[in-house]
Point group: C2
Chain length 307, copies 2
């Protein structure tokens, strides 16, 4: 799957991923109204609204981008019904040949991480039948519990040809509170980064590992160091755009082969129609606004990074 | 809710919580067969089996224990259907007046943590209607992203009178890989523990905070230090029993008031019928075996801790 992701990035010349994080506040009113008319102002109504919204964005952008990254929390807040919309979004994106990165940030003790791994990347045995639940291509993983929380994911990835992105340095303002703590001569995120590189050696694709890392766009100096510590690690970069990360800062996240990083934008793409720049599209054409924003993002990043 | 938990613990003289982590391998064959006969060897069949299994255990133990702790991964592995069984388990336990600790170990950047918080502890606005999704009483939270990943949970807890347990030192063998790293003069878990105590000051119950901590039974020396660092923090202690934690080691997790800790056992209770000690009950009476194991656990802990 990492080979497939890399080849799609190369083919499209688009090291980007669209974050499908549908807050209800982003969903155009005409979509919400239609869903509530059919299902009421219920969790089911909300789930229907966010799926329809996602579908419009996927339809308008799938030929430009290698991957989407649905953030499961935005679905989980609507309970079972919301998670059903998550699953429908995963399946719909896959039907459009997109790579799907489930942003789930799970991580637990061994047997429990195994359950998350089979539920999201693999299959679970029911009686004599192998059943698949969410079936994303990649997921994000929280490393706080150490190797025996991460290895069960890698085991399933090896069987399934799938991958993970492990949180190393997150994009949020307080990420430094624990991640930047000096452990001996280096901060914790470097130690985690080194460990990610080690975990990655056990499951390599052609030129990059199936074990990737998450490093926020908002900390480019740290990105530069981590890039060197993890040369074979694909870096998923959140924080571009709405969170403040700039294209000019992204060059250090890439290797000299022009690969090694994939930059996420969520709000900046999916709620583009709300921005001054794209408001001419109007709410009805929110998906066209998203398409325009994707094209601008690809241009912004490739021109800044590959000058 | 922390006041309610404390008062239930006192009334029952039972500082214990039963972990409802239903691996299919624990579920007696007669329950599995019945579920598969009705729903096939499907995710739905598995979900039905684990709910029936849980229901039997809750019915047999609810009068002895203050709380249950369903581990969501064990349900999530069965997808939407499994999460439906999770929700049914939460609701059924609440109908028996049990406090429900959702072991979800979520944690993300601010707006995303907010979505998890409203989905699991609060309510989400759909149109003009407030809808509730999973609605547990407490959840566990991963602190790797720092304050802005944890505060959204505390905000919802304050509105709802609910609580969280933040991972400080987990029970698994490799938990030390990052958690034990020395940051200046003290290990990371102490720093996290201090921060948990600080977060807790902002949302206090009568004698303990609504912000608790997770500290594994398998590291009693660290438990002793953390108890002192976080005097007003309730400690959820996993790792007793099947994972190797012994009752004699648990005393340091408690305060002099005999409170301050609640000890979890999962496999040791829910799969008791598989142990030599309880095998006389037989598979059909698995729930009675669980009841006996709960009584033994309470006796084991109270006699070792409150000598």
């Amino acid at each position: 799957m990492i080979n497939r992701l890399v080849s799609k990035i190369q083919k499209l010349n688009a090291p980007v991923v669209v974050g499908l994080d549908p807050m209800l506040g982003y969903v155009p009113e005409f979509i919400q109204k239609k869903a509530y008319a059919e299902y009421g102002e219920t969790l089911e109504g909300a789930a229907e609204a966010i799926f329809e919204y996602n579908k419009g964005i996927i339809d308008a952008t799938y030929d430009l981008i290698p991957a989407v990254k649905p953030q499961i929390a935005m679905y989980e807040q609507f309970g079972i019904e919301g998670l059903h919309a998550f699953k429908k979004t995963v399946d719909y994106a896959k039907s459009k040949d997109l790579v799907v990165i489930g942003d789930i940030k799970r991580g637990d003790i061994g047997s429990t991480s195994s359950a998350y791994a089979v539920g999201h990347l693999g299959g679970v045995k029911v009686g004599n039948t192998l059943c698949r639940a969410f079936d994303e291509d990649f997921v994000t993983v929280n490393p706080y519990l150490g190797s025996d929380g991460v290895n069960p994911f890698i085991d399933v990835c090896r069987e399934e040809g799938k991958g993970i992105f492990v949180l190393v340095k997150t994009s949020n303002p307080s990420s430094g509170e624990f991640q930047d703590q000096m452990t001996g001569s280096r901060p914790l995120y470097e130690l985690v980064g080194e460990q990610v590189a080690k975990w990655g050696e056990t499951h390599m694709g052609d030129s990059y590992s199936y074990v990737g890392a998450v490093v926020g766009a908002t900390y480019p100096e740290m990105g530069k160091i981590l890039r060197k510590l993890m040369p074979k690690t694909y870096i998923l970069v959140p924080g571009y755009g709405a969170q403040g990360g700039k294209a000019a800062d992204l060059a250090p996240y890439f290797n000299e082969d022009g690969l090694g990083a994939i930059v996420n934008s969520s709000r900046g793409i999916i709620a583009a129609y709300k921005q001054e720049k794209y408001k001419e599209y109007g709410e009805q054409n929110y998906a066209d606004a998203s398409r325009a924003a994707v094209m601008d993002m690809i241009e912004d990043i490739t021109s800044a990074v590959f000058r």
